[in-house]
């Protein structure tokens, strides 16, 4: 064990304190909305499905929680034909992996109050 490790071991309490403060600030604000991510996923899916045919497993929603900024990342794999209404043809095209475009939307600077 190096001397550096020894020092690191001595000071684990400040890290515990910092981790707790970040975690609890999130948990307190999310208190009444236990499954924000699942709700967001359904809403986003429904919004996209009004215009484009997408498959449920091709929509990924995740939240990265940071100390001051949290990131909401929406990752949607959609067919090339953007803007076409849901038709059997469009649905068919999603199965052709060669014709799939990948659009990622990142929204940063979310206040803690939201997540």
């Amino acid at each position: 064990m190096s001397i550096l490790n020894l020092f690191r071991r001595r000071g684990s309490a400040p890290l515990a304190r910092e981790r707790l403060q970040i975690l609890l600030s999130h948990e307190r604000s999310a208190g009444n909305q236990p499954d924000l991510l699942a709700i967001l996923h359904e809403d986003i899916l429904a919004t996209i499905a009004r215009q484009i045919t997408v498959q449920r497993e091709n929509v990924h929603v995740r939240i990265d929680r940071g100390a001051t900024v949290s990131t909401l990342e929406i990752d949607v794999e959609i067919p090339h034909l953007i803007g076409t209404a849901p038709t059997p043809l469009a649905r068919h095209s999603t199965t052709q992996t060669a014709g799939v475009g990948r659009h990622t939307v990142k929204m940063a600077n979310f206040s803690h109050g939201l997540v």
């Binding site: 071991r9 001595r10 309490a13 515990a16 304190r17 707790l20 948990e27 307190r28």
Partner: protein, 271 residues
């Protein structure tokens, strides 16, 4: 009219039952009538910690369901004559506890005791929510450890929203009791210190119970630490906490064991 106190934590194994027993004895020793109620249906242990495990005939669920009268189920302590225990059922399911039933039992107890101390089970399910449901005040038992502090925060949220008092729009009186505290490790930055915990949870401190071998010894012999070794460090910490519950102003300190010379010389290194 009694004050109903819930001893809770969210996390298991932090010392709820030990603290309920120790505080119950300490309050009863002042001559006040104290009842300690075990809400941990199926996993009761307050009887064992109080050394009354062989005297249990009826339990909380029997009283809730009207099978037994409260007076039949209450077990009077043989050492402290103003202390009673209402045990939990060991065989029944926790779903046998109903809100109406528990409310009725607590109401009856209010008229007979000065203190009713409800020992909550771990978790946030039925037993735990009913243990806090009718409380006037709460003691949140917390270890200086991240998972315990997080769970305490969750419990504080429930105390402020799911209790009768909170639903009436009244302020729920809450106290934090820090157990298993090692002042030397905290000083070395190896353990969350008191200021960290209080800043994170932001509720007033009831007491600091130092980590001590006496606590295990007390449960081994079925005698709360405030009874079996009243001069030990954890006992003095519990006695001070009980005085604060009674409204006395007692300076906050972390009692230490009376170490032998060898311990004093080498205590730091051995810790």
């Amino acid at each position: 009219m009694a004050k109903v106190l819930v001893v809770t934590s969210g996390k298991g194994g932090v010392g709820k039952t030990t603290s309920t027993a120790a505080l119950g004895v300490a309050l009863a020793q002042t001559g006040q009538k104290v009842a300690v109620v075990d809400f941990d249906v199926g996993l009761r242990n307050l009887d064992l910690v109080l050394g009354a495990e062989r005297r249990v005939v009826f339990d909380l669920i029997n009283v809730v369901q009207g099978v037994a009268k409260l007076s039949q189920a209450l077990i009077r302590d043989k050492r402290v004559e103003t202390l009673w225990l209402l045990p939990a059922s060991q065989t029944r399911d926790k779903d046998a506890l109903t809100e109406v039933g528990v409310g009725g039992v607590i109401r009856e107890m209010r008229s007979k005791f000065d203190w009713v101390i409800c020992d909550s089970p771990a978790g946030i399910e039925r037993g735990a929510t009913l243990a806090m449901r009718f409380a006037d005040a709460a003691v949140i038992v917390t270890n200086p450890e991240v998972s315990s502090v997080r769970d305490s925060d969750r419990i504080i949220g429930l105390l402020d929203s799911k209790t009768e008092k909170a639903e009436r729009g009244e302020h729920m009186e809450k106290h934090i009791l820090i157990t298993r505290y090692d002042a030397q490790r905290a000083q070395r930055g190896e353990m969350l210190n008191i200021e960290d915990i209080l800043e994170i949870l932001s509720i007033p401190l009831l007491g600091i119970i130092p980590e001590s071998q006496e606590v295990l010894r007390a449960s081994n012999v079925g005698s709360p630490v405030t009874l079996c070794n009243a001069t030990s460090a954890p006992a003095r910490a519990y006695l001070n906490a009980a005085r604060r519950l009674n409204g006395d102003v007692v300076p906050m300190s972390i009692p230490t064991e009376h170490q032998r010379l060898f311990g004093r010389l080498f205590g730091r290194r051995a810790a």
